[in-house]
Symmetry: C2
Subunit: 150 residues, 2 copies
Amino acid sequence: MDKKKPIRRFKSFRWEETDLLAYKEEGSAPFKAITRQTLFRDPALKCELRYFEMAPGGYSTLERHQHMHAVLILRGRGEVLVGDEVREIATNDLVTIEPWTWHQLRAGPDVPLGFLCMVNAERDKPSLPTDEERKALEADPKVAAFLKGT
Amino acid sequence: MDKKKPIRRFKSFRWEETDLLAYKEEGSAPFKAITRQTLFRDPALKCELRYFEMAPGGYSTLERHQHMHAVLILRGRGEVLVGDEVREIATNDLVTIEPWTWHQLRAGPDVPLGFLCMVNAERDKPSLPTDEERKALEADPKVAAFLKGT
């Protein structure tokens, strides 16, 4: 990996020498209007720090995995599903996503939502819910409303 | 370690369930007007994410170590010394501090400087400069002015 300049300037939620990437491969999982930038990844670091940003109305994939997410909201507002809890989130709030906890983030209808996410560099791949698991989540009306984006 | 609530609210650069700590033990090294909050530390994570904040005129310790620092400026403005470079830094800029690189951060004279710092959970202790190393750094007038805070 190329070494980064020691200082990388911030420009309206883009950073120098930092590519704007697709969130995931298109069609691999459900998501909407979300981009990814890897702010720090280095053999000397055992974690990566990524920045994800969703346009208004955008959302990440509903998924879970062994690895933990450590999230800091850097921009805007939205909602997060963590397990069976739906919570509003705003700039600088912290979100801890424990191993094997279903989670999804959604930007507000009229504001973007940008967040930092720290993860272990070595980590497992996310699992998507089965139809049964999705139905179990939707049994809670609040969770069902969140998943529909209403 | 106690499990954290999944969402921790941000309150003016303090977070719920997150202690405001001394930067280091008083007298262990030179520093001024700087505090520490550990935002994420968990056995499931191989890194920690800390938030440091300096009051106007405050500074961190001039030091170096094997472990890498991955820094994102979260609040305010200031200057950083990385190796033999002195650079201005502002909110959301990224700073990479390579292993064994001398570094120090300083808040501006009239603004605080708050920053996130990601580090490996397992890491070595910092080294302070010897008198000779400090003199070598001060041979560069820009670095000397930075270290004096002028």
